[in-house]
């Protein structure tokens, strides 16, 4: 497009306002100015792009084919003409001379100003990886980028569908990915963080979004780190740090934006993260103003349009001498992807005094979370149903006291403002008998009442009786109200729920994980209506275990859902140091192991080493930072983690047995070692201990272990459910078998039954007291096919469990858990990065 040269009218003596940037903020500022005083300033606008002023946020619908460029123009040529604005396009300003008060553009055109307005927006951030400059690597910022993407999609069609990689799973990246998918490209989104749009959404909403996009055919890789962009003369693919290569003819970088400040910095204006402005959008030079994404106001920079509108109002007020002042903005975000409703606003990080109100409706794919503090809304995240986003945002901005509508807040505006009944109990009472209570199982109010009248006096009994609230639980509140209406005080409390985050107990959750094929913690929380955004320290470890048990080899363990000892693979002590217990198979050791332990004790200055009650050695007082080195030394002598810290197989205690002891009947030591080699590494609901004694004198105390073997002349007596500790319990006799192989087979089957059925943190003793030893015998002793199946499942799961976690750590895995981020010496102020 040709460059328009300005011929300043010689007789125009009005003050000259020159605007750099023909984008959203620059033009809006001029609009606001004209609305206040159309004649006061002569206006010239410089634009780097070849276009008139268009609505940048609508580039996404243009890419998706929902709008044309003409439909997103905000101000056409006629607007500039009518208001006598000189527009210079395709000619970026390259220098500002503050002394002469002129600006010079790339073409050499120099224009004098009385007032200058900088509205240069932002520059897309390009991650500094090899290949970033290859043709075919673009950002998503202006119409030219959209044209590039459309051309790539078009080219892809002739070769049978092109592939695109979008780097960045934030708002821009996802909108680009959506548009490209609609244009027929195969799209992979690479996102560094574990959840999409992590700055706007919490984990629960991010998970829902990811599942929805995946079901539309996009490949979403989270926690994926780009190593390089490959290609000879143009882009051919993207390689990740883990080595994966994703072929692509187009790469869109949408990892963030930086305020465009180069021009202002060269001119010597004060710059922070953006061009610094006061409340009237004036920079450090009183004749120069700045507005839009390029500015920093009161420490904040913005990347959304709503703040621009506020800034432009304050700016125009200032230019027309009616100073109002800008006070900063609270922002909200909506994702513009058809059919996906996502909204977020304010601060949803919780913190002291903040309370979450969460509503989940799995059958309709809805998640709503409103964060309330001191009876005011401070943040909101909505997924699936965003109709009330505006209402919450309005309450938030106005700081409205929500105490009077608190109980109904989460149900939305129409409900809270009287569309529903003011008293939820009365509203439920008023429902007709055929009103549906439970959507999942189609249970009516009448059916629930019949069930209650038939003797179901607790939530659990109703769930068992008529299935209401048994699947996703979103109607639990309704069912509880029905119970209260029918029975008053006679409602019986059900068995305990896992924790306060859910209305379900352990057994229900375990059953539903398997029945619904759930695969991740956020999925369980969504499908079972957790009332908190990311659970608590009681439910998260339980869910992590249940998923791990249900999906051997597939589920990715969540480190942050593990208690510190299991995360650090050592036992935390009261002073913050750790104790380290290497495995000594069946209590046997040798000079090499003993020497290695002695060396570690000396090398790392361990203050104490002790023989444990589990027949091995415990090294105390190891610093968190030294753990990987300690493990490397122990590994070198052939020792692995003893899991003295885990809800897992601990020790297999043995006695000397037939090899030496004058009473020994079988090789108890040898069997103990074999059993430990079969079972080590397995995660369990609680800790699990085994012992093998060589005769009924029982020196290994096998009858107070979770699984005990007592050798006798004719074979092996197996018993289960013993416990030392707080409440001593002797084992129950299970059966007697003839061979070592059988003893091990029964042991494997029993462990798997326990792993699959006990509640998290329930040891075998209380579990067996709850279900009865007969129940165990029927399954392990009487039902051979079930016994075989259980043992086979255990052995399959063990193929994934038996790697030494210490070896992985010593090799550098999760290094960050051991090293501090930085060190700092306050005296002289020195600091070093770790």
């Amino acid at each position: 497009m040709e460059i328009q040269i300005i011929q300043p009218a010689r007789d125009d003596t009005r003050e000259h306002l020159v605007v750099i940037g023909n984008g959203m903020a620059g033009c809006r500022a001029v609009e606001e100015l004209i609305a206040r005083d159309p004649t006061r300033y002569r206006v010239t606008i410089f634009g780097a792009e070849p276009h008139v002023n268009y609505n940048r946020i609508m580039l996404s619908p243009v890419l998706a084919g929902e709008k044309t460029f003409d439909q997103i123009v905000i101000n056409d040529h006629a607007w500039y003409a009518t208001n006598m604005i000189d527009l210079v396009v395709s000619d970026p300003v390259q220098a500002i001379d503050r002394t002469a008060k002129t600006v010079t553009a790339r073409s050499g055109l120099t224009v004098a100003y009385d007032r200058l307005l900088i509205a240069t927006g932002s520059d897309p951030f390009i991650i500094p990886v090899p290949g970033k400059d290859l043709p075919g690597v673009i950002s998503f910022r202006d119409m030219a980028d959209v044209d590039h993407m459309l051309a790539a999609a078009e080219a892809g069609k002739t070769t049978g569908g092109g592939s695109a990689v979008v780097i960045g799973g934030g708002l821009l990246g996802l909108e680009a990915a959506h548009g490209l998918t609609l244009r027929g490209m195969k799209v992979t989104v690479i996102h560094l963080m574990p959840t999409l749009m992590e700055r706007q959404l919490d984990e629960a909403a991010g998970w829902l979004l990811k599942s929805a996009l995946e079901s539309r055919g996009q490949v979403i890789l989270t926690e994926a780190n780009t190593a390089e962009i490959v290609g000879d003369t143009r882009v051919e693919g993207v390689r990740l740090k883990d080595g994966t290569l994703i072929p692509a003819s187009l790469v869109v970088m949408a990892v963030g934006i930086r305020p465009s400040v180069a021009l202002a910095r060269d001119a010597g204006l004060e710059i922070g993260r953006g061009i610094k402005v006061d409340d009237h959008m004036v920079t450090s030079d009183p004749s120069i103003l700045a507005v839009g994404e390029c500015v920093e106001h009161d420490g904040n920079v913005y990347g959304l349009v709503a703040p621009l509108w506020d800034m432009c109002r304050a700016l125009a007020d200032g230019l027309t001498d009616s100073h109002s002042g800008y006070r900063g903005s609270v922002t909200s975000t909506k994702l513009k992807v058809a059919g996906l409703d996502v909204f977020s606003a304010g601060d949803f990080s919780g913190g002291a005094g903040a309370e979450d109100i969460v509503l989940r409706d799995a059958s309709r794919g809805i998640y709503k979370r409103v964060v309330v503090k001191d009876d005011r809304i401070v943040g909101a995240v909505l997924y699936g149903d965003t109709t009330d986003g505006g209402w919450y945002f309005d309450l938030l901005k106005r700081g409205e006291d929500i105490a009077p509508i608190r109980d109904m807040l989460i149900f939305g505006q129409s409900f809270a403002s009287g569309g529903g009944q003011a008293d939820p109990k009365a509203a439920v009472a008023a429902l007709s008998d055929d009103a549906e209570i439970c959507g999942c199982n189609g249970v009516t109010k009448g059916a629930v009442f019949t069930c209650i009248d038939g003797g179901a006096h607790s939530l659990d009994a109703v769930r068992a009786g008529c299935k209401a609230s048994a699947s996703c639980g979103s109607c639990t509140g309704l069912v509880e109200t029905l119970l209260a209406l029918r029975l008053g005080d006679e409602v019986e409390a059900g068995p305990k729920t896992i924790c306060k985050c859910t209305s379900f107990g352990h057994d229900d959750v375990r059953r539903e994980i398997v029945a619904q094929g759930m695969r991740s913690i956020p999925e369980v929380m969504q499908k079972l209506h957790w009332s908190t955004p990311d659970g608590c320290s009681s439910c998260r470890p339980a869910l992590n275990y249940y998923l791990l048990c249900a999906l051997p080899g597939e589920y990715k363990d969540d480190q942050q859902s593990r208690f510190v000892n299991e995360r650090m693979h050592a036992n935390i002590q009261k002073d913050g140091t750790y104790s380290v217990v290497p495995r000594m198979w069946g209590g046997l050791t040798n000079p090499r192991e003993l020497r290695a332990i002695a060396d570690v004790v000396e090398k790392y200055d361990a203050p104490m080493v002790k023989v444990t009650g589990g027949q091995r050695l415990d090294i105390f007082g190891i610093k968190k930072e030294d753990l990987p080195a300690v493990w490397a030394d122990l590994n070198a002598a052939g020792m692995v983690s003893g899991h003295a810290y885990g809800k897992s197989l601990r020790t297999v205690k043995t006695c000397v047995g037939s090899d030496w002891c004058r009473f020994g009947t079988q090789d108890s030591t040898g069997l103990g070692v074999k059993v430990e080699q079969m079972t080590w590494g397995s995660w369990m609901p609680h800790k699990f201990k085994i012992a093998v004694s060589g005769c009924p004198r029982n020196c290994a105390e096998a009858t107070i272990k979770d699984f005990g073997v007592v050798c006798v002349d004719s074979g092996y007596e197996l018993s289960v459910g013993g416990n030392g500790g707080i409440k001593v319990r002797a084992t129950d006799f299970l059966c007697k078998v003839a061979t070592e192989e059988e003893a091990m087979h029964y042991c494997a089957a029993f462990i798997q039954l326990y792993r699959e059925q006990a509640r998290y943190l329930e040891r075998t003793a209380p579990w067996i007291e709850r279900v009865g030893v007969e129940y165990i015998r029927e399954r392990i002793v009487d039902d051979a096919p079930l016994r075989d199946a259980l043992a086979a499942r255990f052995r399959y799961s063990q193929t994934f469990m038996q790697d030494d976690p210490w070896a992985a750590r010593a090799a550098g895995e999760n290094r960050e858990q051991h090293a501090p981020m930085a060190r700092f010496t306050p005296i002289d102020g020195t600091r070093e990065m770790a």
Binding site: S349, C536, P541, E816
Partner: protein
């Protein structure tokens, strides 16, 4: 290199729903937390109950559960939640351009 704010590293170096520490010579470590929704907080790495290392606890919502006896501490204020009473010092922290910055004065106070 002294200044109001100390740059201690990239925010991505802190696991989500996890934490890292900053060692302070002559003082308690500082625990830097990152919550499920990406916010960053800093507290003295010392539980008000019996000095447990809060950096080793389970982070959930806006709180951390102490690894020693499971007190829950609010990350924003350092206050013990629920029935428990006590407070651990908060160190001002901010994230700018992906870097985590902690307040120098706060660090000194924590060391004192």
């Amino acid at each position: 290199m002294t200044g109001e704010w100390l740059d201690i590293g990239w925010v991505d170096e802190i696991p989500v729903r996890g934490s890292r520490t900053v060692q302070v010579t002559g003082g308690d470590d500082i625990a830097i937390f990152r919550t499920g929704d990406g916010k960053v907080f800093a507290l003295a790495d010392r539980c008000p109950h019996k000095g447990g290392r809060l950096s080793q606890g389970i982070v959930h919502g806006g709180a951390v559960a102490c690894p020693l006896h499971n007190w829950r501490i609010a990350l924003a204020t350092g206050e013990a939640l629920g029935e428990d009473k006590g407070c651990t010092p908060v160190i001002p922290v901010k994230v700018s351009g992906g870097r985590v910055l902690i307040c120098r004065a706060g660090t000194m106070a924590a060391a004192a």
